[in-house]
Symmetry: C2
Subunit: 334 residues, 2 copies
Amino acid sequence: MSNLEQIAKLSGFSKATVSRVLNKSRHVSPDTRAKILQVIQEMDYVPNRNAISLSKGKTLQIGMITTVMTEIILPFMTSFVEVAAEHGFQTIIYTSDSDQERELQAFEDLKQKRVDGLLIITCVNELSVVSSYGKYGPIVSWQRMDRPDIPSVAMDQYDGYALAIEHLLSQGITRIANAFGRPSSLNTRRRIQAYEDSMNKHQLEIRKDWYFDAVYHLEHGQDVVRRLLGIPSDLHSEDGLPGKNLPQAIVCANDYVAAGVLSEARRHGWNVPGELRIVSFDNMQIAQTLGITSVQNPIRDQAYNAFALLSPSLLNRQLPLKPLDFSLAVRETT
Amino acid sequence: MSNLEQIAKLSGFSKATVSRVLNKSRHVSPDTRAKILQVIQEMDYVPNRNAISLSKGKTLQIGMITTVMTEIILPFMTSFVEVAAEHGFQTIIYTSDSDQERELQAFEDLKQKRVDGLLIITCVNELSVVSSYGKYGPIVSWQRMDRPDIPSVAMDQYDGYALAIEHLLSQGITRIANAFGRPSSLNTRRRIQAYEDSMNKHQLEIRKDWYFDAVYHLEHGQDVVRRLLGIPSDLHSEDGLPGKNLPQAIVCANDYVAAGVLSEARRHGWNVPGELRIVSFDNMQIAQTLGITSVQNPIRDQAYNAFALLSPSLLNRQLPLKPLDFSLAVRETT
DNA sequence: CTGAAAGCGCTAACAA
DNA sequence: TTGTTAGCGCTTTCAG
């Protein structure tokens, strides 16, 4: 492999001038530039990036921390990788598998200048630990960080949930069940708040007996339907619907849950959307496929903002932040 | 930030000795080591990895090339990141979005010594281009590379398909439909071959009229069922099944297709597995969730082998390759 | 067991 | 416009 010095020698100029050509400095005469480029070409020379990194003290690499790679975070990861690449930054994956020690490697790498910044998707170390690394480089989080010193692009779920509820109310739906995710998480608390506020505002009854907790997966969604219909979970009854009081809609924590709700409802002859409407969150591929109305958080904009929050350190200028708004993809289930 | 020189000064030893301590060389007296470690601790010193990389000419980083991150490749990515991490290597994502230029960046980074090796998941550049970068470092591929100079961990789909077919035959199923993926791809050709060989071996009829092509997604699976039942695709007929000649089983290109087949079959009263058995490929989460029998390729082992194929250059020793075998996760649909 | 010194390959003042 | 010369921070002979 050839290096700068060889190019300098062969072209008859100094290393500095070659470096200038490489860095597109404009203080080089066209002639010189041409000659040097010629030699570079001939020698199939490429600069060594480690040397550049060492010399500049920057690596143009960003670490991305997550416990595990799941399809949930895929769109976010993809978008971030892309926006980073547009600005010349590469992305390194750190999966911790929920192991604090393993995760710490990422933070150490920030300290060791292997990465110029860190993006937390999910994090298992103490927030105090995380923020103690703040002095070594910029850190931003997707996951909500209840600490002011770690900026986050997490959104207030209140707004998204209100959007879903108001959509249903505007259709004359008033009996609404809710399938929430992790109990007592801030996200869930905000969603509950949104539901209750909306119902109160319209002077409608809040049905706490239709709150379901810890509903994460497709099967959980099926379960919710069975519980509402009073069907034992190990039996696939094909009986008609009980005539009793049922919700007119179920708002689901995510699209998979909604998929479970949808399939199980149909299996038991519960007509969607005629008798039951379904709204879910995340608007992933499956929601589109199955025609489920879903609340969408602006993932690409969040990813962009994550980079923008890192930009002051990385690029020495603040990229403008995009406003983050939920939107509703209305489909057949409502 | 402190550096080696400062540690050397403060501890009263030379940079070389400090370096030895750092690299766990055994030619250091315990006393010296203790003193130096003490200073390192006090100064909160960490070595600069760029300097190490430059000096050693290695980065301990591997680039992973893919057109787009999808859930299909997620388990493979995850496994690779993990096995690489176990050996001290980090993984950088290069998504090309099928742009040859963007993808080339990864290969340039190999040349520029930003990464020590390259893993191709999917690649859009010419194979000749790819292999021209082989001299700069090891390259291995997940995707099949019809070139001997680029090692690959791709598996022969013949074996997996034969596994599925023999499973059905052993259950007395003889009328089998096939939903294939990309027409004329090597994978598809091998799958067809496996089906036809198995049928021939058992002197059973090969039903080419039940070959479906370009079946990739859930909707396509639904489509297959409708076509078999003779139902126009824009109508959701609830009529009984036509009494005519139908397959007893459908082998699907992937789990999503199978999910579509399953839901559509049930919707039309086609009893699974009583009247229709379903086998698919990939054994992803959704297959488990929906209880679909699925052929599993040993993704973790493939990822391990990918690293093992890189290991001679990366570690200066060849990790043993694991044998790669398909297996069958038998569930409710068969 | 320890130290001196020459790299690794590039950048960026500062001069000219 | 171009060259000189220190770095950047660590590794690694080669001596001692």
